[in-house]
């Protein structure tokens, strides 16, 4: 990030005011706790169902809207300064551009939970560790390449997996999750790992343990077994897998290569899987959008990618971003002591960004052509800690959707989504059901 950009972003930060205790508590109750309840990194089926029934995100949006309407500016300090919540693009940019230095991402419940299964992951690193691991991740995931060097291979994996997918007359989440499970194992570890559901199962188990609010204990046998398995794959990487790129990637003793792998797994299998499934629902619900998307088949183009972005934006799988200040500093004229938790509530920022029209609607054009980065839309995050796998996510997500749409017609059975209209605040992907017809 250049100095000029830093200067500009600092200049654009709006003010942070102090919210009252009542407002603070309301935000914690409607915004923070539900995010923890649904599962910080692996959504829980039951919690999703209950939170969706209560429409909790709408409540969070309402509470935060009230605070913003009252105080204005780019954010507010809550609970006497222990917490800050941000909604303005300037403040968010300031924080995200300075993540891993001033605003570290390794604090709070998320980091504590993640340490249960990936204590040395990039996302919970700071300082020299972070720089080392970031370079490693960027290299393997080909963050700065226009196209991933193994893209052709990955696309053939997708093609093969969709060809093998046997669905009909309905499609439910479990089958789609199974598809992503296979794709993930083959892309990350290679074709011979396709049947290693023990590996994804171990990770799922550890993730579920990690997001318990209490009682996250010492590493268990599962932890050692997971990393033992990953190490075995790393020792004999299969041609055409992400692991095959590890040897060439920059690394040192502090990289902790095996610890970088679980994040790739769940970001692809769980997060992208859920996002692609919601995107499919959006397309199936809107015949005219569907017709336009179909014009881009069999490959799938900018429009399909735009829909995927919109699904991620409208129903962010990471409901909130949290950072912790690493020193005393000032943001938007407010003093933030070292250790302040800085929150960016994606479910709010993605839906109520001031000055952006139709935020509740599916507008794939937002993401088409050369648009400036919108720092309030953080499904792939922004700034220094943006998602190094972003390009890969879009490649795989688009490919799966394109292949699926080429093979089948989908009719959304549950829930109903308004074609072209304002989308509901919550969309429980576990509950999405399609009727499918082979094409």
């Amino acid at each position: 990030m250049s100095t000029a950009t830093e200067a500009r972003s600092e200049a654009a930060v709006g003010r942070l005011h102090d919210a009252s205790l009542g407002e603070s508590l309301k935000f914690v109750a409607t915004g923070l706790l539900p995010s923890l309840a649904r599962g910080l990194f692996k959504p829980r089926r039951g919690a999703m169902k209950r939170l969706t029934a209560l429409d909790m995100d709408t409540r969070a949006i309402r509470a935060l809207s009230e605070i913003r309407d009252k105080h204005g500016g780019d954010g507010a300090r809550l609970l006497g300064g222990r917490l800050a919540v941000l909604w303005g693009a300037g403040a968010i940019r300031e924080v995200l551009d300075n993540s891993a230095t001033d605003y570290a991402s390794d604090g709070g419940a998320k980091a504590k939970g993640m340490c249960h299964f990936q204590p040395d992951a990039l996302t919970v690193s700071r300082g020299a560790d972070w720089r080392d691991r970031r370079a490693f991740n960027e290299s393997v995931l080909a963050y700065s390449e226009r196209v991933h060097p193994l893209a052709d291979r990955f696309l053939s994996v997708v093609e093969d997996e969709v060809a093998r997918l046997r669905i009909g007359p309905v499609l439910e989440w479990d089958a789609f999750e199974g598809l992503w499970d296979h794709i993930t194992l083959r892309v990350v570890f290679g074709d011979h790992a396709r049947g290693d559901q023990e590996l994804t199962g171990l990770l799922a188990k550890l993730m579920n343990q990690g997001q318990r609010l209490v009682g996250v204990g010492e590493p268990t046998d599962d932890y050692y077994e997971l990393y033992g398995k990953i190490e075995r794959y790393l020792a004999d990487p299969q041609e055409g897998s992400l692991l095959s790129l590890v040897r060439e990637a920059p690394q040192s003793d502090r990289t902790r290569v095996a610890h970088q792998v679980p994040h790739w797994m769940f970001a692809m299998r769980d997060t992208l899987g859920a996002n692609a499934y919601r995107a499919l629902a959006v397309i199936a619900a809107d015949p005219s959008l569907c017709a336009r998307v179909r014009e881009e088949l069999p490959e799938g183009g900018e429009l399909l990618e735009g829909v995927l972005h919109e699904a991620m934006r409208l129903w962010p799988t990471t409901p909130l971003l949290a950072r912790e200040t690493t020193r005393d500093l000032e943001l938007g004229g407010a003093r933030l002591a070292e250790g302040t938790q800085v929150m960016m509530l994606n479910v709010f920022n993605h839906r109520r960004p001031e000055g952006i029209d139709d935020a509740d609607r599916v507008v794939p054009e937002r993401w088409m052509g050369d648009n400036p980065t919108e720092y309030r839309f953080n499904h792939l995050s922004n700034g220094t800690q943006d998602c190094p796998g972003g390009p890969l996510v879009l490649l795989l997500g688009r490919a799966v959707l394109a292949r699926m749409l080429s093979e089948w017609s989908f009719k959304l059975v549950e829930p109903s989504l308004p074609a072209g209209g304002d989308q509901p605040t919550m969309l429980d992907f576990f509950a999405i059901r399609f009727e499918v017809e082979p094409r």
Binding site: D160, A163, R164, R166, I167, G168, P169, D191, H192, A193, R194, G195, Q197, V436, E437, P438, R439
Partner: protein, 623 residues
């Protein structure tokens, strides 16, 4: 879909139990039988599908009067409301929702190459005999398959290119395999990719291997005198006028001496039935005699298959019981003979004579049914031949010498009883991996086409959209296998399969999985195949008007009904070849290995023979 409360209750109970324990692991015979019943009801409710585009038009023509009490050569008018059901040329349907049927295309179609599967997993290293069965059982299932289905020979100009290794000595690289011939003009399954294939035979269990599938064909086969079928004065079948070396028959593809023997037996049986009918009905004309003998003979073949062949190859008391329930009912044939049917219940009084019913879909055989009857490892490569009277071993021959255009020439050297005796005393092969006959991996069909049937067995499933092993099991609501070690208890096989399938358990082909999986006690084929079997076996009876509503003395004559109910395979053999009686004496099932008549086995009285027969039956159960 409405389901009976009993079916639901059974399903609820057994679904839970079967997660941990399969039906054959139940502690008692009655629980096993009940679990089987539950599986069957469940399969009937969930695994029967019509072609979605099947026209359900009201019938416009009236049935021809002869169709009311006789089968038609083309299989039409068995169902009086839907005359085309099950008739010749109608498509094979599926036991899987047609929406999920995905015929494989390259590269998937050749992942891994079916030829590689054939060579590395199927090739017979040493002959592994199925010691509880005889080779007559092998011939029998092919005889019956020819009764049920054939996809046709394909067209030489429409082929799939199967990739093969450079080192493979197959004459063509790649190997050309003819595609299955699709029914013209429609895919039928209501989805843009699945293709319908027609049956060149009638779908019914109507003896079309003997009686053909058209009026013209029957004209060639019939004498038009006393209802009889043609057979030479020497008691041998006539030669096919168009194909030298093989016999004339209703269906004579893939001919060999085993088939020829069975065709001879049941042609003679037909004629014997005619004699009996004529004695009782002296005024009947040739057509009436033919039609009625046809009904009786085909019902007899269905019965032998149900209550003898099946319990022979699936040798477990629960199945003996279940198969007899299918045929005569839980109360047994004696009660049924004495008191007749006790209501419509097929459980109490069997399917025979109960009302015709199709369940969730019209009756057609299915691609999955065809797939689970691929049992080529039953065929031996090396055959020893014996004299039936002395037991003397005459010679040893390779299968190629005994089949195709060599068949008749070879058979001239023997009396038919010698050949049947040989079939009776030799074991067939076990249906497992590494036991595929070498002769069939390099088989020249009578039209000159060279084929590897093992490659074909694998490729046909893929081509027709029959899922691979794990997906197939899931469709039959069986647990998926998660690893190669779980697939088979043979460690060496597990490793070989893993290698061929590049560690991908979900790619394992149906045939390979069925040949590799551990068998339930007494089973000669896999439990996976058995699921399709329990669904379709009873359905073939229940859907057929002549086994149900019209299995009556009015249609069959009382003599006909009695003939069916009181004849066993052994009786058929002894009726026409009484000289074989010593080998069959005391045998409870003609598909178990017969007594040898050579010196070492001679000298046992009738009680001794009976004891030995029971011993063989028990050995079969305990195998």
């Amino acid at each position: 879909m409405s389901r009976s409360p009993v079916a639901r209750a059974l399903e609820t109970a057994f679904a839970r139990i079967n997660k941990k324990r399969q039906w054959y692991e139940m502690p008692t015979v009655s629980l096993k039988a009940l679990n089987l019943l539950s599986l069957r009801l469940d399969l009937r409710d969930k695994n029967l599908f019509d072609s979605p585009n099947r026209e359900q038009k009201p019938r416009t023509e009236d049935p021809p009067p002869e169709a009311l009490r006789a089968r038609r050569p083309d299989g039409r008018w068995n169902d009086l409301e839907d005359p085309d059901m099950g008739s010749v040329g109608r498509e094979f349907t599926h036991n899987i929702d047609p929406k999920r049927i995905k015929p494989e295309k390259p590269p998937r179609l050749h992942t891994p190459s079916a030829r590689k599967v054939s060579l590395e997993l199927m090739t017979r290293d040493t002959f592994k005999p199925a010691t509880t069965l005889n080779a007559l059982a092998a011939a029998w299932i092919q005889f019956e398959n020819h009764n049920w289905f054939f996809h046709g020979r394909g067209k030489p100009e429409e082929v799939m290119d199967v990739p093969i290794e450079d080192s493979d000595d197959w004459p063509e690289h790649p190997m050309h395999v003819r595609r299955s011939v699709a029914i013209p003009g429609g895919n039928g399954n209501g989805n843009g990719r699945a293709v319908d294939y027609g049956n060149t035979e009638t779908h019914w269990w109507d003896g079309s291997q003997l009686y053909g599938t058209s009026v013209e064909q029957q004209k060639q086969l019939r004498t038009f005198e006393d209802g009889k079928l043609k057979i030479g004065a020497n008691g041998r079948l006539l030669e096919d006028p168009d194909e030298a070396g093989i016999d004339m028959a209703g269906f004579n593809e893939n001919w060999w001496f085993g088939l020829s023997c069975l065709h001879t037996l049941f042609t003679k049986e037909h004629n014997a039935i005619c004699d009996r009918l004529r004695r009782e009905n002296p005024r009947w004309d040739d057509q009436r005699l033919f039609d009625t003998a046809w009904l009786i003979n085909s019902a007899l073949m269905a019965k032998i298959h149900t209550v003898e062949w099946t319990p022979g190859i699936v040798n477990t008391p629960a199945l003996w019981f279940a198969m007899n329930v299918n045929w005569s009912g839980g109360l047994g044939q004696h009660i049924k003979d004495r008191f007749g049917r006790l209501g419509d219940s097929e459980i109490l009084s069997g399917i025979m004579g109960s009302p015709q019913e199709h369940g969730e879909a019209g009756f057609q055989l299915t691609e999955e049914f065809v797939s689970v009857y691929r049992m080529h490892p039953l065929i031996r490569d090396d055959w020893e031949f014996f004299r039936h009277d002395s037991g003397e071993r005459v010679e040893e021959r390779f299968f190629d010498d005994l089949q195709g255009s060599n068949t008749r020439g070879f058979m001239q050297n023997y009396e038919i009883p010698d050949l049947i005796y040989t079939l009776g005393v030799l074991n067939p092969g076990q249906i497992t991996l590494h036991n595929y006959p070498r002769a069939l991996q390099h088989h020249r069909r009578i039209d000159g086409e060279l084929m590897d049937l093992a490659t074909l067995d694998v490729l046909r499933d893929r081509e027709r959209g029959v899922p691979r092993y794990n997906d197939f099991r899931e469709e039959m609501r069986m647990p998926r296998v998660r690893s190669f070690d779980e697939l088979t208890d043979n460690k060496q096989w597990a490793e070989q399969i893993r290698r061929v399938y590049d560690n991908d358990i979900d790619s394992v082909d149906l045939q390979v999985g069925m040949y590799a999986e551990p068998l339930p006690p007494g089973f000669g084929f896999s439990d996976t195949a058995f699921r399709v079997f329990i669904l379709m076996a009873s359905r073939r009876l229940k859907s057929d008007r002549f086994f149900t509503t019209d299995f009556t003395p009015e249609v069959y004559t009382q003599a006909g009904i009695d003939w069916v109910n009181h004849t066993k395979m052994k009786d058929v053999i002894i009726r026409h070849y009484p000289e074989l009686e010593p080998s069959l004496e005391g045998m409870p099932n003609a598909f178990l290995p017969w007594h040898r008549v050579d010196a070492a086995h001679d000298g046992k009285g009738p009680m001794g023979k009976r004891f030995e027969g029971m011993k063989k039956a028990l050995e079969a159960i305990n195998a």
